[in-house]
Symmetry: C2
Subunit: 221 residues, 2 copies
Amino acid sequence: MASMRRVPDATVARLPVYLRALADVGDTTVSSESLAARAGVNAAQVRKDLSHLGSYGTRGVGYDVDYLVRQINRELGLVGDRRVAIVGAGNLGRALAGYKGFPQRGFRVVAALDSDPVTYGMRLGLVTVEPVSSLTEVLTREKVDMVILTTPATVAQEVADLLVASGVTSILNFAPTVLQVPTNVFIRQVDLGVELQILSYYTHQAAASHPTPAGASVGST
Amino acid sequence: MASMRRVPDATVARLPVYLRALADVGDTTVSSESLAARAGVNAAQVRKDLSHLGSYGTRGVGYDVDYLVRQINRELGLVGDRRVAIVGAGNLGRALAGYKGFPQRGFRVVAALDSDPVTYGMRLGLVTVEPVSSLTEVLTREKVDMVILTTPATVAQEVADLLVASGVTSILNFAPTVLQVPTNVFIRQVDLGVELQILSYYTHQAAASHPTPAGASVGST
DNA sequence: AATTGTGAAGGAGTTCACAGCC
DNA sequence: GGCTGTGAACTCCTTCACAATT
């Protein structure tokens, strides 16, 4: 049965991966087994995950690819384009402004802001860097849905407070800081240093078991 | 008791966060409560996590900050500097080459490679882009410990095969692809599109419950 | 008095295994 | 015969609650 609302967090985290995998299925239908292989998970997992969205498969056949893609997109709230602002125009912010993967998946970078006057007027991809002092105005003008935060850690909390005050409720945070925000604001944290450190642990462990370097591949979330 | 080897994955993923949090504790000791607040987790969680490394705290007092930092670093295998190569010198690869957070945490970018002749000789931070055709040679010459993969998705698997053949066992993959690698190779996947899509889900859900926009903050891993 | 370390309870996520359907 | 949907078993992770320790 479909409705018994609330999809588990772990499932939500995998739906985008299924979406990615479905993009290069040649056929019009796909089995849980085949989709699982492409997404790098267990087939039972795929079936359980998809069952949370409803009974969209056909026994003996599999899932209709196009239909499934539509259902997952709907569940993720990926309807029209999402409008994204990048706050912090350093190395990383500049690279993300031009990242092809965003427009491909429906995320349009519509503004870039920084606190350093040197950057004002710089062109990043399709937008021009504006002063962070006009934050609220820019967010309103560009109808921003979500913010990518790429400031130094030292000012990240301060900027986050401003964002919250301006009504932003979705932040993808690259600053290596645990942001304090109200509970109605959603944060996803990406810390590249942390990723490398975790990787370091597993590599180190595998190396420690000298003779047999057998280990397990480590996923993400 | 300390040893009953094997620290749970969930704990490993939090150790770097504790490390980050410990960096700006002013005092010489810290309580699980205080550390938990800084790291954004529950105090019992902190205690259980740290108990996996051994009994390094003092009842009634807390944990000695310096000592704890050393123990966590040791557990993560963060001893000397780690040598990192960036494969794929596009937008993202170039930005990561100059990312300050890496050297700060002991990750030195010692090489950059790309398949496009236009990029050969380009200076990224401290290194010069070399052709991916000399991959094996460069990895050996620079004693590379881990690779950051920032190629387009289309060639990511192909390049990963090359890396594996050259003996690389740690890959931080930014390409939106599930890489097929032997079990002795460790992969961490960072997919920026996926992060935004997950964020989109929670935002969308919160918006759907119209009148009361109360939600929960979403962590990362 | 304060705070750790941990057994036990509780919750979440995964995998199995098979009935049910095409 | 092939494949989904799902209850049940299992494993992993989190939180509670308190005895042990300084």
